[in-house]
Symmetry: C2
Subunit: 484 residues, 2 copies
Amino acid sequence: MITENKKFRYDQIANQLEDSILNDILKVGEKLPSVRLLSKQQHVSPSTIFKAYYQLEAKGLIEARPKSGYYVRFRHAERVAPAVVSATQPNAKAIDTSEIIKELEELRNSESILKLSSAVPSPKLLPIARLNKSIGEAVRTEKNFLLKYTHPQGNPELRRVIAQQLLNWGGNFRAEDLVITAGCMEALNISLMILTQPSDVIAIDELTYFSIHQAVEILGLKAVSIPVTSTGLDIPFLKKAIEQFPIKAGLFVTNFHNPTGVCIPDIQKKELVELMTAKQIPIIEDDIYGELYFGKNRPSTCKFYDTEGWVLYCSSLSKTIAPGYRIGYCQPGRFLEQFAHQKRILSLSTSSLPQAALLNFFQKGRYDFHLRKLRTALHTQALRYSQCILQYFPVGIYFSVPEGGFNFWIEFPKEFDSYELFKAAKDQQIGIAPGQIFSVESNYKNYIRLSFAEPFTEEIEEGIKQLGTLAEKQLALSNYSKEF
Amino acid sequence: MITENKKFRYDQIANQLEDSILNDILKVGEKLPSVRLLSKQQHVSPSTIFKAYYQLEAKGLIEARPKSGYYVRFRHAERVAPAVVSATQPNAKAIDTSEIIKELEELRNSESILKLSSAVPSPKLLPIARLNKSIGEAVRTEKNFLLKYTHPQGNPELRRVIAQQLLNWGGNFRAEDLVITAGCMEALNISLMILTQPSDVIAIDELTYFSIHQAVEILGLKAVSIPVTSTGLDIPFLKKAIEQFPIKAGLFVTNFHNPTGVCIPDIQKKELVELMTAKQIPIIEDDIYGELYFGKNRPSTCKFYDTEGWVLYCSSLSKTIAPGYRIGYCQPGRFLEQFAHQKRILSLSTSSLPQAALLNFFQKGRYDFHLRKLRTALHTQALRYSQCILQYFPVGIYFSVPEGGFNFWIEFPKEFDSYELFKAAKDQQIGIAPGQIFSVESNYKNYIRLSFAEPFTEEIEEGIKQLGTLAEKQLALSNYSKEF
């Protein structure tokens, strides 16, 4: 929609381009005209074009690719109207994804598999020696205290250093405001437990980490799927859903969303919080990937815009430093007391030992240094992997390089079945995640999530090449069957 | 009830005495006639009297006190008929115990308080140096593996050594049959989650660990309280309850029950399993205290008698070696798949680091040695504390020395209010647990749980003496107010 009296020329240009993109005149993955060309065409200075492109980039519609130019970012087909899906109703599912998820999880424990399937940092990117030293120091310092239960909300000193960490995005909390949990998953589960009753309706990302869908299912909840597109969360859609259903909570991955890599623009986060606060609907914010940004600035959080405590901010140290330690945390806003109570009843407190080890690591001032190294490594991996995918994958696929996190979300032509590719790849000892496990309705079967969490090596290159060949074969086969 | 044609003289004597006890002719805490005296009276050999006493002891009706003789054990007033109590109905509660529980938990984190209130082993009884060495060794051996997620069911090697441990009571399981959890509480919670829906009815011990009541409450369940008496679990009462209500599961602490110290006789465990198996009702068995027996043999478990997989056996390493590590486990019988699934969704897996440390400790063969030392220490403490209580506490109190675990369950005269004693004791830096927090209906306000988990010292003696004085004062005051 273009309002009439735009003041600035770059606004007009941006709006025209936006229309072209939304009307599929410029298709996903296609290159935009170069800045020089467009400035000539439109008789404006290159800086005006740059401003227009920045605006579109901020909206998540286009992306800059290094040394190449601007491209239209992927987005998903829009849903027509909100609908409640009960994961426990078998007819809500096109296929049973739980078996696929099991197969995928078995890959995790295999040593020989090429792990393009796991959205956790490779041990090769983690400061193992330094962390092990921290374990030793913590044991020497804390002695018998490690054997005692920690405070039900977690080690107070660890909470304090985590509160310091939240200053990165302007989070201003005291240690008492936080609860340490067994990873982010426990934080999400506890949030759902305290906010909902079975058969309640919640709003969640249409595409999301499969364990979130499973948590929703096991609690007997019903879900309205809110589309996540390249422009972020579809807030008008959410508004419609709220009008239509008694939504008890929203659960959203706000930064470098798994599997799509989408980062909800900060302006949208504000809008989301305002909408939900007005309706007094809590937001469960999952920000596990937020610290893994490749750009200059960390994206913000919903919690940052939360003036009345309706956001339960959940995150963890699993994606940045120690997946196996299972240390997560939550700032539950106005639900602090209920959250802490539920946590205490569930497991009394989180394990003392990994908390003490991570606290020591923080106290030695190594965490920020490690994060900087990790971000650079992941950014480099993202670029190397993407070059490789562009080189070896068949034509007709789309993906964009995310601005943080671990994952490419790769679109294949409609007829493609990524579970077939998953099986063929597994036979060749290559692990990928098929797209259908990320949505309850098992749509997105023509997508795969390919993770770049492992450092780029010749082995990886060879794996991506094999994957490309397998995909090409499958596409040729499905084209063949279409023709006859 | 006495059947007519008893073959043996000692059976007859035992039955006569049982009648005297059940009819309150011999009252709780009273001494039985000496073996010599009774053998003269009844014209039988002393060994016949010993056999009769053994029989009563096995039934939990009497107990031998070192160098003193046999005494009638405490038992609780019997309930008339089963009734469902919904913990969420405020009128089901005489008083709100949650505030008392909070106060009690605050004591845990205080360094200055004399801890007669906590049912966890004192760090002074734990092999801290050896365990810390195990942490170091585990870190050196496992290196980067500790950073990875462990198997959703937990470290396979740790599961194997725990399976070996279960051989102690004849448990015959494979590593694959076990799931490692964040302490026993998570195991109990997961069991309840997979077996029940909100507003389902379950059967639980009338008196039990307050966090179990809270878990039941938070899951929206209703409970039928089954009396725990000195003779064990009231199985006829449970039968009546099953006839009357659609009971979905039973949750029972089977050995050295918290707070009463009662050990369900093995024969009753068998009966319980047979009853529940016939009705296809799962038993959630909490056996965290089972390894802490003072006698020659470890008591058995319900799981031992479970031929069809209806018992979910839950336990932990929190009461024997490392409370703060939060490592528990479950053998969920026929519910293995659901249990493992629920655990994975709740927190993916249990923390790798404490699992690896405890595994190393087991592998070095130190656990059994430690357990033997711990049992001896606790037994000695139980006897020293009990002498001290007998010396300093006012007349009119009853308690028995348990055969395992950490706790004395001390009965005061009816009018006594143990919360008043709790507050007065806290002012003098002494921690005890008031009886009302262990039952949903907040009965048992004239009981306290006094734990002997700390090694006996002069400070402890002084504390018990002060406690005795405070109790005496309170009793005098309530007698005074009764008189006027």
